[in-house]
């Protein structure tokens, strides 16, 4: 076209373009989506926000019984409840990011079909909601951790704890990237959506949530588990807040690289999908 326009819509679009400036304009919408999710989640429940911490406490309690008391898995000398909680809280964050973003297109189809805003707003607000959820749970963990340390349990907070923001960023980005890729692929084939539910559950057993990497006897298996991009971050969080275990830095570096590659890939897939998905879903 000869004339100049603010917005030009054409049949093709650059798949590598992340429309950051436009997304920033919608920051109020991101924030309102987060508020909506928080406000509506526990409406008309008696315990309300307490549910945020009941869930991890209950699962950790069951883990303690099953894996601690019955299976008697090693916890590197750390009190069992504390050990499982330290793995469970970041795991729940990762899995929530993944499962909730994986239904982005599917569950927002009605909204996306009626009004335009940068579609990336939805997964971003989902991840922010998950993050606040996690923060509440993490504060709870930290308090329990400090109580355990004060009564003389064998746990200590080390300098590695300073890695916390980086590790959480990695887990969130990884969960979101995988979730976005799945949501883009499920526009056409719904199979993956079925897989996500129990796939995440299975992945938990391949991540050091109920055991520590150092307790894996077989060295090949240990290396495989270490290559799971969720593993190093959970292990380093344990080193930081419980002072237990040790993981070579190289695996942390690998998991960061994998995360960045997946994030890049997810942007490409998302861009390609968002343009026409409404005709296909």
């Amino acid at each position: 076209m000869k004339e100049k326009f603010d917005t030009l819509i054409t049949a093709k679009k650059n798949p590598f373009k992340l429309n950051i400036r436009e997304t920033v304009k919608y920051k109020d919408l991101i924030w309102l989506f987060v508020q909506r999710d928080f406000k509506t989640k526990y409406k008309q429940t008696i315990l309300g926000p307490l549910w945020f911490i009941i869930q991890p406490l209950l699962t950790t309690f069951i883990f303690t019984i099953v894996f601690g008391q019955i299976a008697r898995l090693s916890t590197d000398g750390v009190p069992q409840f504390l050990f499982y909680l330290a793995g469970n809280v970041p795991w729940l964050f990762f899995s929530a990011c993944l499962t909730h973003t994986s239904s982005t297109f599917y569950s927002n189809a009605r909204l996306f079909g009626k009004v335009y805003f940068p579609r990336i707003v939805s997964p971003i607000s989902t991840v922010i909601t998950c993050f606040f959820n996690f923060l509440i749970q993490f504060v709870m963990f930290l308090l329990i951790d400090i109580v355990f340390i004060l009564i003389g349990a064998s746990a200590k907070i080390t300098l590695y704890a300073l890695l916390f923001p980086l590790l959480i960023l990695q887990l969130g980005l990884l969960g979101m990237s995988v979730g976005i890729i799945i949501s883009s692929l499920t526009v056409k084939y719904r199979d993956l959506q079925v897989l996500v539910g129990f796939g995440v559950q299975l992945l938990m057993y391949l991540s050091p949530v109920v055991y520590s990497v150092s307790s894996i006897p077989n060295s090949t298996l240990r290396n495989i588990i270490l290559l799971n991009p969720v593993t190093p971050s959970i292990e380093f969080l344990r080193i930081g807040f419980l002072g237990s275990g040790s993981t070579p830095w190289i695996y942390l570096a690998i998991s960061f690289c994998v995360t960045l590659v997946l994030a890049f890939f997810s942007v490409v897939v998302f861009n390609k999908t968002e343009r026409n998905f409404i005709d296909k879903i």
Binding site: I9, L32, K188
Partner: protein, 261 residues
């Protein structure tokens, strides 16, 4: 004559849909088709079952639309069901992308293809105003400055702090429309939204829309089957048939043309 500013311009706009089930239905067929495309060969799945309305038969919803809308125009779009009215609005509001051609837009677009998009039943009327406003492209500060006017316009002050799920459908529509009526965007796109709500409120909304358009030079694209609302609001009208523009110009003549075809 001074040069008028273009608000929306489309060139050779085309949108195709495939008939029947989307995709080959099986991954195997999709891979076959993809592989054929890669080698620039003919899609092996094209010819199968060509008797029925099959997936590879194309339906052209819009067939080369060239339309220039100037700033401040209130354009009515009429045509039979399936003529491509809604598809045109969807393309301009960026809900789906064109198969061919391009659209240039100057200014912010707000589309109301449905009343109350994104309303959440558990949130109160007030909270929904903020949410709906943001979805339609308003910032929080903008809503803040207009919230009193919006609530007043909606005529449901009494229920504004009650969850929207307890609203009657009329209240719902009134609230949703009030938000939309207070948008600041330069271009408004509306699809049959006024069909709901009582007559008095419809009239109030139309007048409000017309007023802002005249005073602030806002551009409106309006689809409706109700010729009275078209007459009341629009100063230009286009008639679509089978994805093509068959008339463009005066409102009364357009309505006559639509009634004949």
């Amino acid at each position: 004559m001074e040069e008028r500013k273009i608000a929306v311009k489309t060139e050779g706009l085309k949108k195709e849909y495939r008939l029947g089930v989307i995709s080959g239905g099986t991954l195997q067929r999709d891979i076959q088709s993809f592989w054929a495309r890669m080698r620039k060969k003919e899609d092996p799945n094209t010819k199968v079952n060509s008797e029925r309305h099959n997936k590879n038969e194309k339906f052209v919803a819009l067939d080369g639309i060239n339309l220039t809308v100037y700033k401040g125009e209130r354009v009515g779009i009429i045509g039979k069901n399936g003529a491509g009215k809604s598809t045109l609005l969807k393309l301009i509001s960026r809900i789906t992308s064109p198969t061919e051609g391009s659209i240039g837009i100057n200014g912010r677009v707000s589309s109301m293809l449905e009343v109350g998009t994104g309303f959440h039943g558990e949130l109160t009327g007030r909270e929904n105003i903020y949410l709906n406003g943001a979805i339609l492209g308003m910032s929080k500060a903008e809503v803040d400055s207009k919230i009193d006017k919006i609530i007043e316009f909606s005529e449901i002050e009494k229920f504004i702090d009650t969850p929207a799920k307890r609203y009657s459908s009329g209240m719902y529509v009134k609230l949703a429309f009030s938000v939309a009526a207070h948008l600041d965007s330069e271009i408004m796109i509306m699809d049959e939204v006024l069909a709901v709500g009582d007559l008095a409120f419809q009239k109030k909304c139309l007048d409000k829309m017309g007023d802002v358009s005249r005073e602030e030079g806002r551009t409106i694209l309006y689809v409706s089957h109700n010729m009275d609302t078209i007459r009341r609001l629009c100063d230009r009208c286009i008639v679509l048939e089978k994805g093509k523009i068959i008339y463009d110009g005066d409102v009364e003549k357009a309505i006559l043309c639509y009634e004949k075809c």
